[in-house]
Amino acid sequence: MTSAVLFVLRTIRGPTVFDRVIAVDSLSYDLVVFMAMIALYTGRYVLAVCMVPIALWAYALDIYVSWYVEQKVKGEVRCDL
């Protein structure tokens, strides 16, 4: 929980978009572990199914953001960045 709070702080404070994306990634992977723990200790094993889409969602966020930024930089080099 402490680490999740620190990741949220970095997500809010992050100077660039990459910092925010990478902090959201870490939050998602934390959420995966939390869901597995909740599924184990409450006995509701159906909750564990959602771990796979969350992990894949974090990867998709990484890939989409990096692809978008790369295409933007390659297509048009703006000097007022």
Binding site: T2, L6, R10, I22, S26, A48, V52, I63, E70
Partner: protein, 130 residues
């Protein structure tokens, strides 16, 4: 002296092994989160995040798989299999995503540096002199 390793002993060993992996994962998680918050540049933060993911997410998932095997039953086997699959998935995808982000960040930084050199700012002048 001969020890009798029974099924109950193995179950207890698996449970305490899983709990110790959970504790190790929590320590990694907090250290990585402090690193993400305190380190000065994006590349160092990416290193801290990768360490957090590998040490703080995969280790507890393996520990949870061990605990759920110790719980026994079909539900325990199901949760253990799912935990191991997700751990392998994270182990493949998280470094790949970090690499893609760092590559994009390097591209953006080099484009900004080229613009600064073109403008003839202080950074560009310093680069031409040296």
């Amino acid at each position: 002296m001969k020890y009798a390793v029974t099924y109950e002993v193995l179950v207890e060993v698996a449970r305490y092994f899983g709990l110790s992996l959970l504790v190790v994962g929590g320590v990694f998680e907090i250290i990585g989160a402090i690193g993400v918050l305190k380190l000065p540049s994006f590349y160092l933060r990416a290193h801290a995040v990768t360490m957090t993911v590998v040490g703080g997410s995969i280790t507890p998932l393996i520990g949870l798989a061990s605990i759920s095997i110790a719980e026994g039953g079909a539900e325990g086997a199901y949760l253990a299999t799912l935990c191991v699959i997700v751990a392998i998935l994270i182990l493949i995808t998280a470094p790949t995503g970090s690499h893609a982000l760092v590559k994009a960040s390097i591209l953006v930084n080099s484009a900004t540096r080229r613009c600064l050199e073109k403008k003839g700012s202080e950074d560009g002048d310093w680069r031409r002199k040296n």
